[in-house]
């Protein structure tokens, strides 16, 4: 699913965010990216989602060589991805339902299918009764669950999460983790960037540790 080969990322400021990173992730695998802040976790996720381009090296995601995905192809590439952020990135001028429906609307899913799929996604994260609510009225944990529903409503094959529990307490974090584990069990490849060691030890999955942009440790798959 993901194959990085000697990937470097240098920002225009001259900062080296990633240095010679090589690893691969199988389809259906679940991995954690960890490391101190500024170690390059977010940069790695941004490269996978084509929010940034590698400076050097080869990166293949979902059988696509990222260097050959042109700007106009990026939207179609991203439709196979679900992305979850620490700050949820929900739109506050519309309801929970409309937030979750957004990926389906932009990809031109017929109107009659949208309702069904949005409710299925909201049911999955346990917020079916909140579809008419505005995101601002929800708690942090609920907002993150809405953003997860939005990430999975398009049935992605790869789910990326950048510090998904960064703003949540331990109990809520575990609920979120359970959701990701559930998607993993349904065959979705899951990559979670976090420095929440409690979460990592509880999940007992493969961990890639970054240190100053270099891959410091790869535990390999754990079952």
């Amino acid at each position: 699913m993901i194959e990085f080969n000697q990937v470097f990322k240098r920002y225009p400021s001259g900062y080296d965010a990633l240095k010679n990173v090589s690893f691969s992730v199988e389809t259906g695998e679940m991995i954690f990216l960890t490391g101190h802040s500024g170690a390059g976790k977010s940069t790695l996720l941004k490269l996978i989602a084509l929010m940034e381009r590698p400076s050097r090296g080869q990166a293949v995601v979902n059988q696509k060589n990222l260097a050959r995905v042109y700007r106009w192809q990026i939207p179609y590439f991203r439709r196979a991805l679900g992305i979850v952020f620490q700050d949820y990135k929900l739109l506050h001028d519309r309801t929970v339902f409309d937030n979750v429906a957004l990926p389906l609307v932009v990809t031109g899913v017929p109107h009659r299918d949208i309702g069904k799929r949005v409710r299925a996604a909201l049911d999955k994260v346990g917020l079916l009764d909140k579809e008419r609510a505005s995101p601002v009225t929800l708690s942090g944990g609920e907002q993150q669950r809405v953003s997860i529903a939005r990430a999975v409503v398009g049935k992605p094959t790869l789910l990326l999460a950048d510090e998904p529990t960064g703003n949540l307490d331990a109990e809520l974090s575990e609920e979120i983790l359970d959701l990701f584990l559930d998607f993993h069990h349904h065959g979705v490849t899951v990559v979670i960037a976090t420095h929440d060691t409690h979460l990592i030890s509880r999940a007992r999955k493969r961990v890639l540790q970054l240190d100053h942009g270099e891959l410091a440790r790869d535990t390999g798959a754990r079952t």
Binding site: P75, Y76, R78, L81, I83, L91, V106, G108
Partner: protein, 306 residues
Amino acid sequence: MKRLLAYFARHAQALIGSIGALTRTPLASIMTIAVIGITLALPAAMIVAIDNVMQLSSGWEGPGRISLYLKRSVGDASAQKLADQLRRRKDVAKVDYISREQAFAEFKKQSGFGEALETLERNPLPTVLVIHPASTGETQTLEALEHDLKKIDDVELVQLDLDWVRRLHAWLGVIERAVVIGAGLLALAVLLIVGNTIRLAVLSRRDEIEVSKLVGATDSFIRRPFLYSGLVQGFLGALLAWLLVQTSLWLLAGPVQELANLYGSGFNLGGLDSGGSVSLLSAGALLGWLGARMAVGRHLRAIEPQ
């Protein structure tokens, strides 16, 4: 077929959505539309005004007159003979004979130089034949007649009294060109007005654009509502311009009619015809779309997910 329907459905959705967005900020929308309306009304009104002057002056060219100034050496008898000769021509309706004495008397009376002229040793004025052409005022036949008259030996100078009409038309040509240039500048102004409005709309929906890009929205999908918004604003602005022009003409129609009656003319103030109206409305819509396109193209690229 299904895809085509889906395509139209998406566009209809974007159109309705953009009208909805305009009604959500009514004051700002009305201001923008008003500015576009006034900007478009100016050139439209100028064009209508020129059309009316053209129409009015086309009636004036009719029975132009030609003044024939004879050489001073030509005596009364031969002048009379020339006048009779000209009267027999088919393209001449009437010839007025103004003798040197008549001309001198008239000049003395009208110029106010009466006493001064008395001191002149002899009458400096020539005999004049004023020719009324028979034709209905085709400039070409008049010019042919003028050409013939110039060839007569006894004639000193031929003056076609059409000159001032021609000058008027030349002036109208200049003004028309100026209006075209002005209209171009004002069209540019509309582009900038719409561009600026759309730029602000794009910036205010930054989050939405960013998230849409993250979940796989194409540029054309994101662009569409803004383009329709520009199109709708341009169209509504043009509609306002149309109303402004037609209302102004309606207000002017009465006094103009009165003025025309006093001159014994059947002139009627003309407004924007259906062709002109369609041009105005489509120009507005096109300018709105174009302005939006320019603004969105530039700003959309700048907004990328972080």
